[in-house]
Symmetry: C2
Subunit: 594 residues, 2 copies
C-alpha cells in the first residue's frame, strides 16, 4: 500500500498551527496558500511516484561496497536525479548560492514527505543540507560559491565527519589531525566512523566536512577545527582532478536504514588527504553546532515521517483484515479489525501522536523562519530563543515516540507484522536509529536542561507555560472542547513543577536533576505536542462553526486532539513524579549493584 | 559478552517471593534449596556453555528450506542433543510418561535460562512442551505412551497447527477439514501458516497437532477438533514408517527469531494426511486452551528472558565504554558511561522491570504448582483461579515490557547498538514477536477482562488488591522502606478504580471498557510486578537485618525495588485516567476519520 502525502493535514497545520500566512507576511515572502498547495502537490507527486517505490527495494537490496566504491540501491540514482533536477535540494537555501530561498516552514512539509517516502534515501539530501549550512555559517565567500551551487544542483553531495571509534557523543576525544602545508592547505589524517553517505555513486564528488586537530590545538573541545576534504580534488577552473587521499574501508551492517551507506572513512593513509580550513582554527565545534541544530530538527522530522508511513500502512491493513466478531455483539459476523476497540485505540494513539508531533514541528519551523529572517531584531531574538528551546524537543520527543508508534504499527498487523515482506517491520527497524544519531536523546536532554532551561533561568520554558494557560482558558470557553482543558492544565502544572525542580536543584544536586533529564524532555514534548493539538482543535472548531470546510476532517481533528488529552497527556503527571520523587533512587544507586 | 544465568536473583526470588520451600512442602516434593541450587547450576552450565553460543550464529545463519526439508542453524543439533539427553525436556512432565515430575516453579527458572540463551532454539522445546500438555489433557492412554516418552527423549518433537491465512486470532474461521476413514483414522486437508518448527532436522519425527473440522461439525469455534498428524507414520512396533502427506511449502522471512523455522505446512495434497482424533470431536479448542495457558505463560517467560540478556549486554557495555565527563564535575576526565545519570536510569529501568517481572512470574509458577498438585481441593481451586488471572498478565505484561527494555538496551549502546554485530539489535528484533504470538496482547486483555475479571465479578482481582494493602502496611512499618508504601498504595487505588469501572460498564458500554483493555492489563501488570518487588524488598530487609547474607546484593535489591516504586508505578495513575476518562474518545471515534 503506497505512501500518500497527508496534504490536507499538512496544509491545515501550516495554516492554523504554524500561522503560515502571518509568517510569510512577516518575512515578506510572496506566496499565498494556493501557491503553497501547488508546491506541496509537486512534492507529493515526486515523492509518491518516484521516491517511495525505492523504500522497500532499498531495504532488501542495501547499498554495498565493491572495489572500494559504494554502489547504492536500485532506483536511487533515478530518484536523486529527479529530486535535484526538480530543485528540491535548494528549496530553503539562499538564492545567492543557487537555492530558492523559500521558508523553512514550507521546506519542513516537503522534508516530511521525502522522509516518509524513503528515510535511507533522504539522508543523502539531509547530510548535504547540513554541509551547506556549515559552509554558509563559516565558509569563505569563495568556498560558498565554489561548493554550494554544485551541491544544490546534485552534481556533488556533502558529508559530516565527526565520530571516531573513541569519540561518539564526546567530541572532546577527537584525535584526527590536520597538518598545515606551506600552500595554506592541510594534510588530514584519521579514521572516521558512522559516516552517512560517506561514499556513494549518486554524484560525481563528495564534499566531506571533517573535524580534526591542528598540531598547536589545545586539548578538548576547544581544539577542534573544521576542514573541507573533497573526495576528488577540484581544479581552479572547477573541473574535477585526481582522487583525494580518502578511502572507504567498510560499510556497517545495520538494524535499519539499510540502503543508507554508513561508512568507515580513512583519511590520509597515502601521505595525507588535502583539506581546507573552514573559518578559523579551533572553532570547528561552534560551526558544527549551528549546523547541528538544523540537522537535529531534520532528524525530528524523520521521526514524524516514519510514524506517518507506519500509520498509513497499519490503518490500511486494519481496514481490510477481517477477524473476530465485535465485542458489543452488534453483529455475529467477523468484522474488519479497525472496528475492534483495541485496534482503534492503537490507531488513535498513532494518529494523535503524529498530529501532535506535526503540529509542534511545523510551529517550530515557523519560529526558525522568524528567528532568522524577521526584520525586527528583538522579534528575531525572541523567536530564536524559542526555536532553540524547541529543537531538542522536536529531535528527542518525535524520535522517541517513533519507536513506540512504529512498534504499534507492527502490533496492528498481528503475525503479519513480524514478516518482513509486509513492510511494517522495516519502519520499526528504521526508526531505531533516530533517538541515537545527531545526538542521543540524553544529549538532547542535557541541551534542554543546560543551554535551554538553566541558562536563561527558565524564562523561555516558563513563557511557554503562560501561553499554554491561555489555550486552556480558550478551551474552557468552548463547550464542545471543554473536556480538553483540564488534562492540558494538569500537564502544564506538572511541567511547571519540573522546570522549577530543575532550576532549583541543578547546582546542588546535578545527579538528581540529570537522572530525570530524558523524562523532562518527554514531559515537555508531550505537553508541547498536546498544546499545539489543542490549538489545532480550536481552529477546527472555528472552521466547523463557519461551516466552510470539510466536516469529517474537522470532526476527526477535534476527536483526535481529545484522545491526545485523555489518553496521552496524563503521562506527564507520572513523569513529574518520577523526576521529582525518583531522582535520588538513581543518583544514590551504587553502580556495583548493577 | 556471554550470558551468565542470574542464579543469585533467581534463588532469592524462588525462595522469598515464590515461597519455594512452602510450595515444595505442600506438594510433598522432596527437594531442598541446596538441591535446587544444584539443578540450577547444571542448567546454567548447559545454557551458558552450549546453548548461548548458538544465539548470534542462528541470527546470522537462519534455518532454511532445502529440497522441501528444513536445515537448522549451526550448533542447533548439538544443543538439542545436549538438552534432551540431559533430561531437560521432561523436567516438569509426569514420571509416568518419562518425565521427572519436578515443580513448574523450578522448571520456570530453567525455562528462563534457556530462553535467555537462545529464544529461537528454545521455541522447539516450548512447542514440544505444548504438544505434550495437549496429549496429557485429551489424548488416550495409548497416545500418551506412544508419543510422549519419545518427545521427552528428543527422538521426536511436537508442533501446534492452529493458524490459517484467514484464521489468526479468530479460530472460528478455521477451514482445514478431516474426513473420517473406515479404519477410525482421518484424512486431513488444509493449509496451516506460522507453524513454529513445523519442519526441522533436530529429530527424526514431528508430532503435528492440527485443528480441523469434521464433515458434520457445526460452524464456528464449537466445530473444531484436534488431530495428531505425524510427519512420518509410526508403525505398530514403534518404528517409523513412510512419510505422511504433509509438506513444508516455505519458511517465513522474519524480523527476529530468525533461526526458528516458521513454516507454511500443506496437509493432504496427495490424497490426505493420516490423522488421529485426540479426545472427542468438536472439543479441539477446549483442549487447546488448556495447553495454551501453559504456552502463554512460557511466552511470558521468554519476555523476561530476552530482557535479562539485553540488560546484561547493556550493563557490560556501559561499564566499559568511556565517554564524557560526569555532570557533577567530580572529575575532568571522561568516565565509563555507567556513571552518567541517564545511563544509570536506563539500566535501572531495565533491572527493576526484570526483577519485577521475574518476581511476578515465579510467584505465578508457584500458584500453578499449588493449583495442580496440592492435596486440598479448595486450596487447588483458589490457586487455580489466581493462576489463571495471572497468566494473561505474565504473557501480556512481560512481553510488552520486553519491547521497551530491549529498546533501552539498544539505546545504552548508542550508535553501536544499531550495528548488528553488537548483538543488542537482535534482542530488539527477537522480542517483537512476543506480544503477538500465542495470542496478541489484546487477546490476553480480552481474556483478563472477560474470563478473569467479569466472570467472578472481580473476586480474584480484588482479593489481590487486599493482599497488596497488607504489603503496603508492612512497608509503612519499616523506616528504610517506608517511602515505597505510598506509590504502591496509589497504584493499588488506581487498580481498584479500574476493576470497578470494568465491572460496572462491561455490559452497558462494552466498547468503552474494551478500549481500555490493554491499558488495564498494563496497569495490573505494573502493579503485580511492583507488589512482588516490594515483597522482595521486605525479604531483603529482613535478611539484611539478620546480617547473614550478601549485603551488596540485598542493598541493590531494595534500591531497585524503590526505583520501581518511584519511577515505574506512577504510570498506573495515568493509565487509570486514560481507561476511565478516555474510553469514549475511542468508542465514539468514527473510523472514517482515520
Amino acid at each position: 500500500m503506497p505512501y500518500i502525502a497527508p496534504q490536507k493535514d499538512m496544509m491545515f497545520t501550516l495554516e492554523h498551527v504554524a500561522n503560515l500566512n502571518q509568517v510569510f507576511a512577516d518575512l515578506g515572502v510572496d506566496l499565498d496558500s494556493e501557491m503553497v498547495t501547488g508546491i506541496l502537490d509537486e512534492a507529493a507527486k515526486l515523492n509518491q511516484d518516484i521516491v517511495a517505490p525505492t523504500n522497500r527495494t532499498g531495504d532488501v537490496k542495501p547499498s554495498y561496497l565493491h572495489d572500494g566504491k559504494v554502489i547504492t540501491s536500485p532506483g536511487f540514482k533515478e530518484a536523486f536525479k529527479a529530486y535535484t533536477e526538480g530543485g528540491w535540494q535548494g528549496l530553503s537555501h539562499p538564492e545567492s548560492v543557487g537555492g530558492q530561498g523559500l521558508p523553512k516552514l514550507l521546506a519542513t512539509a516537503c522534508c516530511e514527505m521525502l522522509n516518509s517516502s524513503n528515510m535511507s534515501f533522504a539522508l543523502c539530501t539531509l547530510l548535504t543540507d547540513g554541509a551547506i549550512e556549515a559552509l554558509l555559517t563559516a565558509g569563505s565567500e569563495r568556498m560558498k560559491q565554489q561548493y554550494i551551487p554544485r551541491m544544490i544542483s546534485g552534481e556533488w553531495t556533502g558529508s559530516m565527519n565527526l565520530t571516531e571509534p573513541q569519540a561518539g557523543s564526546d567530541l572532546a576525544l577527537v584525535r584526527s589531525r590536520a597538518e598545515p602545508q606551506p600552500d595554506g592547505t592541510y594534510k588530514v589524517f584519521g579514521t572516521k566512523i558512522f559516516i552517512t553517505y560517506g561514499d556513494h555513486d549518486l554524484a560525481e564528488n563528495i564534499i566531506h566536512l571533517v573535524l580534526a586537530r591542528t598540531p598547536t590545538a589545545p586539548e578538548g573541545i576547544r581544539g577542534i577545527s573544521l576542514f573541507i576534504v573533497p573526495k576528488r580534488m577540484v581544479n581552479a577552473d572547477g573541473s574535477l582532478g585526481a582522487a583525494n587521499d580518502v578511502q572507504c574501508l567498510s560499510l556497517e551492517h545495520k538494524l535499519g536504514i539499510k540502503a543508507s551507506p554508513t561508512a568507515v572513512l580513512q583519511f590520509g593513509d597515502n601521505g595525507g588527504a588535502t583539506g581546507y580550513l573552514v573559518g578559523e582554527e579551533n572553532r570547528g565545534l561552534e560551526y558544527m553546532f549551528v549546523m547541528m541544530n538544523a540537522a537535529r530538527f531534520s532528524v525530528g522530522i524523520q521521526g514524524l515521517s516514519v510514524m506517518e508511513t507506519a500509520y498509513q500502512q497499519a490503518r490500511d491493513y486494519a481496514a481490510e483484515r477481517i477477524q473476530s466478531r465485535p465485542v458489543d455483539g452488534s453483529t455475529r459476523e467477523a468484522v474488519a479489525i479497525i472496528h475492534h476497540p483495541d485496534v482503534k485505540r492503537m490507531l488513535l494513539m498513532m494518529k494523535a501522536t503524529i498530529e501532535g508531533c506535526r503540529a509542534m514541528s511545523y510551529y517550530t519551523a515557523g519560529l526558525s523562519d522568524i528567528a532568522h529572517h524577521h526584520a525586527d531584531e528583538s522579534i528575531r531574538a525572541k523567536a530564536l530563543a524559542q526555536y532553540e528551546f524547541m529543537v531538542p524537543l522536536v529531535k528527542g520527543f518525535n524520535t522517541e515516540q517513533s519507536i513506540e508508534i512504529t512498534s504499534l504499527g507492527v502490533q496492528v498487523h498481528g503475525g503479519m507484522g513480524f514478516i518482513e515482506e509486509t513492510g511494517a517491520a522495516q519502519h520499526y527497524r528504521d526508526a531505531r536509529i533516530l533517538p541515537i544519531y545527531e545526538g542521543t536523546t540524553a544529549i538532547q536532554a542535557n541541551d534542554l536542561i543546560g543551554r535551554k532551561t538553566i541558562r536563561d533561568n527558565g524564562a523561555v520554558a516558563l513563557n511557554f507555560a503562560d501561553q499554554i494557560d491561555e489555550t486552556v482558558a480558550q478551551l474552557s470557553r468552548i463547550e464542545s472542547l471543554a473536556t480538553m482543558a483540564q488534562p492540558l492544565a494538569n500537564a502544564n502544572t506538572a511541567y511547571r513543577q519540573v522546570v522549577t525542580f530543575v532550576l532549583n536543584h541543578s547546582k546542588n544536586q546535578p545527579n538528581h536533576v540529570f537522572a530525570g533529564s530524558v523524562l523532562y524532555l518527554k514531559l515537555a514534548g508531550l505537553l508541547m505536542a498536546g498544546w499545539h493539538s489543542a490549538r489545532a482543535a480550536l481552529a477546527a472548531q472555528q472552521q466547523a462553526q463557519n461551516g466552510t470546510a470539510d466536516e469529517l476532517f474537522l470532526t476527526g481533528k477535534m476527536a483526535t486532539a481529545n484522545f491526545y488529552m485523555q489518553h496521552i497527556l496524563p503521562q506527564t503527571t507520572a513523569l513529574a513524579q518520577a523526576i521529582i520523587a525518583g531522582g535520588d533512587t538513581v543518583a544514590d544507586f551504587d553502580v556495583s549493584c548493577f
